[in-house]
């Protein structure tokens, strides 16, 4: 599947098949159309009332790159770009969305996002194994597990890490307040941490509400089993055991009984578990926060800016850019059985998602009305995987196939790369986070050799300098070069005494460009 001839529609399907075994190409189902319609009506209404014009639809190239990065977390290969751009199939965008949602890369992308949400980026957390959670999340997203069920399984996870990866959630947290803050931010979309010490200045959470939520987490105990030389860790709610709680209580703790945010006090027995009760409340279709928080989170992933921003600070004082739309999407999401894929599919089908990110008319200053798509910066994982996709130009029939060992090495490198490029937690998706060491790495690291190999193989495969340059642009920027760019690059080659090196220069410039780092 490495080499795909470029011959129109048939290769488009081959290209999709390479990504996914399942290709279900169909007209949008009624529900998908409903979601897309809700979005476009609400957005158009605001644009009209603010007298801001919408930018036109994205080009096929823009759309292809965007939906690949947003849904699968990686840019498409040169062959896939060529096939998609050549295709005259009227339904090709919808088919692409389906293929990407069914791909293993979708599960990997969602896992990257949710692992960062559920596991703290702390040194204490780094001492624990994260792999069981990664595998558990990948399996969950591959199966398109309902989000309410996923949340419930995380919140009430019991057992050993290697039997239930979800308990990693508990053993990577250190304190009750840390986990309370995270649960509120991730599953309820609200920040209540200020209320730990005083009444929240913006939201109206009280200290009593804060410690009422925190009280749910006080019965979690650690589980440790040693068999021979193998040590296994886990967590379990156990009120009867005298052992020290897994999650430490801060000195400022205000002891109270478990209480839901906004004051309802559930029945929990002193010696029974708390967390299934909390999970029931959080994931209930009646919970006023859960579906809204999830919709806002997915919107943030796809549009680079949440309907309520910051994405996890959905207080009453912090109004949504499109409040009715948020409410309607939350209803749809809940009614769909908290189906994440369906929500993503619906958004991807909307005109708003498929608009160009080039500003036009009067809309250049607009950041909230969705008149044009935001330009996002690749996440560290997207950057790593996209560079790998470019370096894959070097793969030929002599390249040995991956083995278990090389896969493991790659996974380790991927993690280290992401750690090196990681900025702050939960960064603004449109903000450039890399610093000087990262720029130096992209310019001068051992990537040099990968770039050279990819360029050399492209040169040996393509007949003319024009074709080589075009392939390099397709593989990096998901578009052919403009006439001006083509001239610049071909002149560079013509003037060079060392032609091979000239091609290296071009590929180097492409992967170091802002456009390569961006999802536009």
């Amino acid at each position: 599947m490495r080499r795909i001839s470029r011959s129109g529609l048939s290769s488009l399907f081959v290209a999709f098949a390479a990504l996914s075994p399942i290709v279900s190409a169909a007209e949008p189902s009624p529900d998908t159309a409903t979601i897309a319609r809700l979005i476009d009506e609400a957005i158009q209404k605001r644009l009209d009332s603010e007298k801001v014009s919408a930018s036109p639809s994205a080009s096929d190239a823009e759309f292809l790159r965007r939906v690949y990065l947003d849904v699968a977390g990686v840019i498409p290969s040169a062959d896939r770009v060529a096939a998609f751009l050549d295709s005259k199939e009227s339904n090709k965008r919808n088919e692409l969305i389906e293929a990407l949602l069914a791909s293993p890369e979708y599960a990997r992308r969602m896992t990257d996002i949710w692992k960062a949400l559920l596991i703290p980026n702390t040194a204490a957390s780094a001492r624990q194994k994260h792999e069981p959670m990664v595998q558990w999340l990948e399996a969950s997203f591959t199966a398109n597990k309902r989000l309410d069920i996923l949340a419930r399984e995380v919140l009430s996870a019991n057992g050993l890490q290697d039997e239930n990866g979800a308990v990693t959630f508990f053993i990577t947290h250190e304190t009750v307040d840390e986990i309370t803050d995270r649960v509120a931010r991730v599953f309820l979309g609200v920040q209540i941490q200020c209320a730990q010490c005083h009444k929240h200045p913006f939201g109206d959470w009280t200290q009593a509400e804060y410690w009422g939520m925190a009280a749910f987490f006080t019965k979690v105990k650690s589980v440790y089993v040693k068999t021979g030389d193998t040590q296994r860790y886990g967590a379990k709610e156990d009120a009867t055991s005298k052992s020290k709680p897994l999650l430490m209580l801060p000195a400022s703790v205000k002891a109270t009984t478990p209480t839901f945010l906004r004051g309802d006090r559930p029945k929990v027995s002193a010696d029974g578990p708390n967390l299934p009760v909390l999970a029931d409340w959080i994931t209930s279709p009646k919970n006023p926060y859960f579906a809204r928080a999830a919709v806002n989170r997915v919107w943030h992933q796809l549009f680079g800016r949440a309907l309520v921003s910051p994405v996890d600070d959905m207080t009453e004082a912090n109004e949504a850019s499109h409040p009715e739309l948020l409410a309607a999407l939350a209803r749809e999401f809940s009614a769909s059985g908290f189906d994440l894929k369906q929500l993503i599919r619906g958004i991807c089908h909307s005109k708003a998602y498929q608009r160009t990110s080039k500003p036009g008319g009067s809309n250049a200053a607009d950041k909230t009305l969705l008149s044009h798509m935001a330009v996002k910066v690749m996440t560290p994982f997207q950057l790593n995987d996209s560079l790998e996709a470019v370096f894959a130009l070097a793969i030929n029939e002599k390249t040995p196939p991956p083995t278990a060992v090389t896969r493991k090495t790659k996974a380790g490198e991927r993690g280290r790369f992401a750690t090196f490029f990681m900025g702050e937690d939960d960064p603004d998706p449109t903000e450039f986070q890399a610093g000087i060491p990262q720029a130096l790495y992209l310019m001068n690291s051992g990537h040099h050799y990968a770039i050279a190999r990819a360029a050399n193989e492209t040169v040996s495969r393509k007949k003319t300098p024009e074709k080589v340059v075009e392939t390099m642009f397709l593989a990096t920027l998901t578009r052919p070069p403009t006439d001006k760019e083509s001239t610049t690059m071909l002149t560079h080659i013509a003037k060079a005494t060392d032609k091979r090196a000239a091609y290296h220069d071009i590929l180097w410039a492409l992967v170091n460009s802002t456009e390569f780092l961006s999802n536009h």
Partner: protein
Amino acid sequence: MFGSSFDTRLSRRDALRLTAAGVTASSLTGWLPILAASEAESASKARAKACIVLWMDGGPPHTDTFDMKPDLPECGIYKPISTTVPGIQISELLPKFAGQMKHAAIVRGMSTIENEHLRARVHLRTGYQSGQGGLTYPSMGSIASEAISVPDFPIPSYVAISDVRDRSHGPGFLGPRHQPLFVHDPLKGVQNLKAMVTAPTVEGRLGLLDELEKGFAGEYQVPLSQAHGSVYARAVQLMRTEKAKAFNLSLEPVKTRAAYGDSTFGQGCLLARRLVETGVKYVEVGLGGWDTHFENNEAVKKLCGTLDQSMTTLISDLQVRGLLDSTLVIWMGEFGRTPMFKNKGRDHYAKAWSTVFMGGGVKGGQVIGRTDKSGATVAERPVSTAAFFATVCETLGIDYKVERDTPGGRPLPRVEKSGKPVSELFA
């Protein structure tokens, strides 16, 4: 060829323009108008031009180092020794440093509130408590980069020499421009600084890149283009500048390198001196391994051996070069350790511990504050985290009272309001 669009820094006008575009809102809003007047006033009062922090990661025990309790054997097995300043004693584990006491002021009344490493690192690197108000706070180094860096200087103003990259080092809401340049191994210097190709080839590549950048910036008009351009320009500047040879320790005489000690920490201290000499404003050098819950005595003895040689050499070398007066050197950890033992170890202890201030106009040869007879509480002149930060800021000519708008829109003083500088240091 690579001059125009890769300007070397954001000018103030650029910054304003970017702010207007909503770009660096998190880093610049609300700052600029205030900066002009009040910052200039503080800057004119600067005692030091640069700061070197010797960070004892894990938390060093005060009762084995700078606050000895010889009357209570249960507080430690090590004996105090006299220093070159009459009446001041420190640990026998620091015999070389005892000779430099005239340059050092020991603050024995540090009293802080975080007893856990991660939270305490945030607290003692940023002056605020982790997670307080839902913000990510800038570290002292990032604050220095923001407040006192020299425009156009080709090396980042804040360098962290540490094998651990902790997020408490970061720029928080000041934004990526003020992040530290991390050096993991002082012997290797800055990684990837040298291009894999010849200088003319680099020029050619940057020319191609420039062409691509113009196209994208024109079509999409996003601040991302400027941010990328700024970081790349600074990276290229660092690749090109002669000053980057400050990172190359092999340029030092063998004798000097040996005097600093062959540990990573010792060579890090030497690198810190070279960086300060060349104009860098804030350097942190880490010495890890102080989390001595087990076998405290052996670990502390070994660490003090490393510390004693390197810190002593650093102070005397700075002095010989005429840099000590203009360079504030601070010895600190994220907290101290329990004065009493649990088995053979000491646990975390924030309630009472020591820091040492040297150079930068600090009046040496004095002890400020006092702990009780067992070193468990501060008996005299407690110094809070906020007071500590106010002191560092004031010494560097940074207005610690200035308020700026945070990303959430709330004004926040650079140092928590309760903080007042420890004026005795300069008496």
